[in-house]
């Protein structure tokens, strides 16, 4: 999953569909994100490549909509409802996830275990 500038990125992704939960005035998804092109990637504990400035899931609240949908801590979010999340600032990422007009967000996420599983199955 390392990113070489100028080269296309390929990844094995999983679709995760989260239905937002209404809490009073807000719609919440029940997880936290970290990362962004304006953030320091070396502090990211979940990324394999410490120059990866993507958006990662840093926390999934128990019983929340994200957990129910199958999102896991350490996932890297590639797309949200079709919008790219690999080259966005932290704030842009947060905004794309918390749009008030959308009740469902469809994420494309990738994780190392997925990559490994696919490799394994390809090898065998």
């Amino acid at each position: 999953m390392s990113y070489i500038p100028g080269q296309p990125v390929t990844a094995v992704v999983q679709r995760v569909e989260i239905h937002k939960l209404r809490q009073g005035e807000n719609l919440i998804l029940g997880f936290s994100i970290g990362g962004g092109i304006d953030q320091d990637p070396s502090q990211n504990p979940f990324s394999e490549d410490k120059t990866d400035k993507g958006i990662y899931v840093t926390r999934v609240s128990e019983g929340g909509p994200a957990e129910i949908a199958g999102l896991q801590i350490g996932d890297k979010i590639m797309q949200v409802n079709g919008w790219d999340m690999t080259m966005v600032t932290h704030d842009q990422a947060r905004k794309r996830l918390t749009k008030r007009s959308e009740e469902v967000v469809r994420l494309l996420v990738t994780r190392q275990s997925l990559q490994k599983a696919v490799h394994q199955s390809m090898l065998s």
Binding site: S32, G35, Q39, D40, P41, R59
Partner: protein, 512 residues
């Protein structure tokens, strides 16, 4: 009360107090005027009444007076229309006004709180609920907007006149004009004519900016916009750029709707059974005749047996009817519901009782015709909350100053705030922070940005920095204990920061 207000005005040192005192003075003056006028009217009526013969004609044909009601006005809002010269090209002067509304219905005068207005407001909003009792359906509620222009502190408040004139000619044209006008008018007589001479009062002067009169036609259970008649023009010292309308919620509750107007025992003919007449206790309240089983039920607030609607389309007829041969003192009430006509036949106990029931019904019909839309449904009047103390005069600060998180200018300091909030959880140093623990003194800007619970020296705060309007404080607290993954060793903190400009030092986390 007026003398008290004058004395208070003389003793005022702070500007807000002066404004409030001047306002009370103005209100008192108007009240005195109106009371004197009312006194005059009553004296005249008395004199006329003694000389002429009181007319004592047939009661039903005599003038019927409609019932009184309560009128409440609330949520007053006056939109403003600032010119672009107020924001640009005005040399940074901030023009401020103190405004309030004076409302008069009959001889009842009430005032709203005083609001300070400057160009940051788009509307003047008054939070008051004002209730006028004893209003008739022909009421006229007069609204008057008074405003006083405020000088900025230290500008020309105490300057001698010659100096002030010199200065005012070098100020901007409009502000200079205002200053000169206010200086000229400061020595003038009091703003409102009074029968007794007021002691000479200094301080701000209120001018009438706009007025309007509202009547029954304006009453509605909702917000409506009404036009204001502007009383001042641009050259006037206290001119405020009003849009020309006022929005408010004006509701009226006639007494006939809220209080029972008649009650007594009745016999009602049941549907179907001609001979069976049930005995009920009827209460005429609002647009309904409620029939309870017993008088105690009405007091206890229980549900009535049944309710007969009485509205503009109801027909009432008294006297002998075909169905009621042999039964005296009956009256019938008919309502149309779509195609059907429903008739209730009631029997009163005696001729006198029948008479009083009819009288009550006629009075109700008259009230409904007078109060018109107020009788369709009871409009809610909320009891006014206790008056809040006037807001303190806040110095106008630039928008940017208000945005900074004083006195902090560092994301680390924001975390500090979080640390104080979250308390214990942040005190455990995350394991990967140990990488930086044995660092020799890093220059200030390069310190690790995420969690730094122990600070050995107080940080030196620079100028306030603004943050993005939608920046969410980082959710570090929940993460700190969980970051167990060891940081890869190739990370060299020494190399980052100093040389590279603009490289981010944070790894923010946001909950979504």
């Amino acid at each position: 009360m007026r003398e008290g207000a004058c004395k208070l005005l003389a003793a005022c040192s702070q500007r807000e107090q002066t404004l409030e005192a001047t306002k009370s003075l103005l209100v008192c003056n108007s009240r005195i005027l109106s009371y004197m006028g009312e006194l005059q009217r009553r004296k005249e009526a008395q004199v006329l009444g003694k000389s002429g013969r009181p007319s004592d004609g047939g009661r039903l044909l005599a003038e019927r007076s409609p019932c009184r009601g309560r009128v409440c006005i609330s949520d007053l809002r006056i939109p403003l229309m600032w010119k672009d010269t107020e924001y640009f090209k005005n040399k940074g002067d901030l023009h401020r006004w103190a405004v309030f509304l004076l409302l008069q219905l009959g001889e009842d005068i009430q005032d709203t709180e005083m609001i300070l207005v400057d160009r940051t407001l788009t509307d003047i909003t008054f939070q008051n609920h004002l209730i006028f009792t004893e209003a008739g359906p022909d009421f006229r509620l007069r609204l008057e907007l008074y405003g006083a222009c405020l000088e900025e502190d230290g500008a020309l408040a105490g300057a001698p006149r010659r100096l002030a004139t010199k200065l005012s000619s070098s100020l901007g044209r409009s502000s200079g004009r205002r200053v000169r006008a206010s200086l000229e008018s400061a020595g003038g007589s009091a703003s409102s004519p009074v029968l007794l001479p007021t002691p000479a009062v200094g301080g701000p002067r209120y001018h009438l900016l706009a007025h309007t009169t509202l009547t029954l036609a304006a009453v509605q259970d909702g917000f409506r916009t009404h036009d204001l008649t502007l009383a001042s023009h641009e050259e006037h010292p206290a001119w405020l750029p009003l849009y020309g309308s006022v929005c408010c919620r004006l509701v009226a509750q006639p007494l006939c709707m809220t209080q029972p107007t008649a009650s007594g025992s009745l016999r009602v003919q049941q549907a179907g059974e001609r001979q069976d007449w049930a005995r009920v206790h009827g209460v005429l309240k609002g647009t309904n005749l409620l029939c309870y089983r017993q008088p105690e039920d009405a007091d206890a607030g229980k549900e009535p047996l049944f309710t007969i609607a009485i509205n503009k389309d109801t027909r009432v007829q008294a006297g002998e009817l075909d169905q009621t041969t042999g039964r005296p003192f009956t009256l019938s009430i008919s309502n149309r519901y779509g195609e059907d006509k429903v008739t209730h036949t009631l029997q009163a106990e005696s001729r006198g009782a029948l008479q009083s029931w009819m009288e009550a019904l006629w009075q109700l019909f008259f009230d409904m015709s007078q109060w018109k839309q107020c009788c369709d449904e009871i409009m809610k009047i909320e009891t006014p909350a206790p008056r809040k103390p006037p807001q303190a005069l806040a110095k106008q600060r630039s928008l940017y100053h208000e945005m900074a998180i004083e006195p902090l200018d560092d994301i680390a300091a924001v975390t500090d705030i979080l640390a104080q909030r979250e308390g214990v959880r942040l005190e455990t140093t995350p394991p990967w922070l140990a990488m930086f623990a044995d660092q020799p003194a890093l220059p200030r800007p390069c310190s690790p940005a995420s969690v730094a619970p122990a600070r050995t020296h107080p940080p030196s705060w620079g100028r306030p920095r603004t943050f993005s309007l939608d920046a969410v404080p980082p959710d570090h607290s929940a993460e700190a204990p969980r970051l167990v993954a060891p940081l890869p060793p190739h990370r060299s903190p020494r190399s980052r920061g100093l040389g590279r400009k603009g490289s981010p030092r944070t790894w923010l986390q946001s909950p979504v």
